[in-house]
Symmetry: C3
Amino acid sequence: MNAPETRTITLHPSGNPIGKPDTPYLLNTWYAAALSTEVPTEGMMQRTLLDTSVLLYRKADGTAVALHDRCPHRFVPLSMGRREGDDVVCRYHALRFDCTGTCTHNPHGNGHIPAAARVRSYPLLERHGLLWIWMGEMPADPSKLPDFGPLDDGPATGLAHTYMPMKAHYELIIDNVMDLSHVDHVHGEIITTRGQLSPLIPPVKEENDTVNVRWEWSQTPAMLIFANFLPDPAQGARHFLDVTWFAPATIRLMVGAVQDGTSPLDLAHTVGQYDVHTCTPASEGHTHYWFATRRNHVVDDAGFNAMKIQAMHGAFVNEDGPIIEAVQREMNTPDFFALNPVLISSDVAPVRVRRLLRRMIDAERRWA
Amino acid sequence: MNAPETRTITLHPSGNPIGKPDTPYLLNTWYAAALSTEVPTEGMMQRTLLDTSVLLYRKADGTAVALHDRCPHRFVPLSMGRREGDDVVCRYHALRFDCTGTCTHNPHGNGHIPAAARVRSYPLLERHGLLWIWMGEMPADPSKLPDFGPLDDGPATGLAHTYMPMKAHYELIIDNVMDLSHVDHVHGEIITTRGQLSPLIPPVKEENDTVNVRWEWSQTPAMLIFANFLPDPAQGARHFLDVTWFAPATIRLMVGAVQDGTSPLDLAHTVGQYDVHTCTPASEGHTHYWFATRRNHVVDDAGFNAMKIQAMHGAFVNEDGPIIEAVQREMNTPDFFALNPVLISSDVAPVRVRRLLRRMIDAERRWA
Amino acid sequence: MNAPETRTITLHPSGNPIGKPDTPYLLNTWYAAALSTEVPTEGMMQRTLLDTSVLLYRKADGTAVALHDRCPHRFVPLSMGRREGDDVVCRYHALRFDCTGTCTHNPHGNGHIPAAARVRSYPLLERHGLLWIWMGEMPADPSKLPDFGPLDDGPATGLAHTYMPMKAHYELIIDNVMDLSHVDHVHGEIITTRGQLSPLIPPVKEENDTVNVRWEWSQTPAMLIFANFLPDPAQGARHFLDVTWFAPATIRLMVGAVQDGTSPLDLAHTVGQYDVHTCTPASEGHTHYWFATRRNHVVDDAGFNAMKIQAMHGAFVNEDGPIIEAVQREMNTPDFFALNPVLISSDVAPVRVRRLLRRMIDAERRWA
């Protein structure tokens, strides 16, 4: 007879809803909270992450801070208040909290500060141009954030980031990136594979809480995002697309083209780009979506860089986005499988991701 | 001891919500889906009927098609996609469906089409300037659509149709037409009976899933919609109003006036009109409402025809509509009787309709 | 063994939702329904009070009337109808009701009026510039309305009223007034106590279904709303603030300043004002909020009077209001204590009010 394994988790006294048994999200993990550039050096910003209102600001030394955006006294959003040095003062009764969430001043009565007068603070990592937040109850583990080092490698004019709020469940956005067979049907001339991609049944690998899918194909001419940077823009090229999901909601996408017949299909040998897409649920039907792109060509041209990210942003907002949001409205439930989808060959990778993420969330619930 | 009767119903594999035991609508019947003129000869339109998103379009030969507006793969509305001949191609992954809902092309992998890749199609009838849809599980029965032949009889300039979306339960609209005692109180000079209608206790007949109510009265002058077409517009006239409800939500209304004392009160002997009102629930609190009107006077005047339907449309939108929508907000439930209405003599016909419709829906539920 | 006490309550036959066991409000009490000036001498107005739509109008003799704003026949808001003398005629089928809610005319059929054709009427009191409504099932008891006689005492130019709809639970507004320690933090220069108020731990008294809290302090200069009317505006003054809550949702607030060292701190001896704040829930998350203010200085200046009420209205709408509405959104529940608030010394009075009100509502539920 097996005794159930047990583990002790210290619940935070803040009354924060995160960590409730019915929370639908993976919690002991890193989620993007904001672009580094979104959090100002003065002032404060509010963002709802995992159904929780979070206050983001920077200390005088530039370090970013994340606190539950709710005064524990009368539940006023702290983001309505004001900064006092590295502390935050509540708008209503002027309780003051430091960047760890400890109440440091109570102007009322004899100034006594109740022990419970604490705001939950959330560990942050600032990496690859993004702030990553840990909202689970277990100790934050920096080693759990995947290394997207290539994003950092090269001049600023070869790297760009963007942010898009979406009225859709985050898994619908992950589905979209994990199954790129849609590019010929959804997108225009710029990133078409001229029908080469859809017929492929790409290999899918699952290991260490990641799912990888890879396409390799030839087309003439090359994808237009690369053709002009190849020796002969009008000729055919070999291409690859290598897409890896990291739990819970981050995807690394490498894509490139080359015109010789022997080079390995990787970013070192092709004209290509290294992208990171990441999603954080605001709530069940609303998602924050960011992506970052690093090119290995035209890396010193700020104008080209601006055009590049604008085009990527536009393709998503004008082409993928409306479809995904329509699916959200039509499904009207987060439970994809309950609607009995008819699955086809290109669904292998996104379905693997959905099932692995479900197992991880279920496992976390059993611990909690 | 009676064994319960049983019947086998083949449920459609599309996952379509229609036909669930808790569906509040009568299903094995014809509902209006659109005016013939609403469905274009090219392109597609979407309309929510009975809580279900329906795609409507016409084949090259003009035949109208109704499909569940949801790709069975990833639940994208097919109405976001494009036509390819008589087929429809999904916007997301380009699965193609013919007008029967059969998937005819899958551009992915080896092109295999799963047997389940089907969209539910709905039988349509095109009659009397309307498209009628059958959304139940039993075989569509054209004989169940009542014959409104008189609508078709005469020149185009003697017939007009209109469409009005309403934020109200469809039974509130039926109540409105089945109890015309409101005309003196709600409407203006044009269709007033000068108080003659309300005091009457009209006979109500129920037979063969229809409910009929009939008023006959005299007034001076005649209703203004007819007075100018009678021998002496200033004199009195005998009138009749004959209203018949056909389950679930269609009403035939005949009304006319005559100045001699002996003619039978019917459309053959009076200056009058033959109207059909029909409602289709979009959802519990939203209804599509159409009506058609055929006159037996001034039948060749296109300008008069346009003015006539505009006046009828305006009377409903500006006079009945706001009352019915206010009742919907005040009731905040579809269950009229649960609110203990105080019924008066003029409620006999609408209450008969409500009770008969309820029995029909309950009977259908027992079969399902 | 104690037998439970019993009491017989005659439920009103109108089907009105007020008085259901799960109603969250204290019912057998007076609530403000409108400013006297809000209810016109002709026409009608509608206002939702305690989740019930109420029709307010005045008879020819000026007496105000409150009826359930719902025709018992087909549930049309009577406020859509028209006045006929002191009666109201329904917009839909012209049933007529007098100011007691009795149906006095039915134009349909033989004119029979069913006994159930009654609209619930609500007792009103018109006092202190407000109409007060009794929505409970027990007989209205005028002695239960507290006496705010000082409001009526003095010239019209020394008294002003205002009305503000709020998207917040009414208890959040009561909290705001019962804990005035926020004034130094929320409001600007006009009513600041320059930090003198917050450190005080004011005495709180609970008696006869009221809760009183009182602050006394000195500051230099005096509160700016009073300083210019004191002998030496630049000098210090002794102040008092005396706040009394009357169940369920009315607060009397007396505040004044004096520069001599011996006068009693009351309105007879200080430059001050007598205010009444009162709230009526429209629904759980929406509240009608009124206040009235009577000064004992500059009482004959209509321009000053207008400026005074505009400043008070503005302070609430621009300063308190946004905080309270943000708390409402953040709490997303009416159950304050369920969120484990961290209470501090200044919460004593509002917490006493919340607990006493809860006991009164629970007691009423046991009777019902």
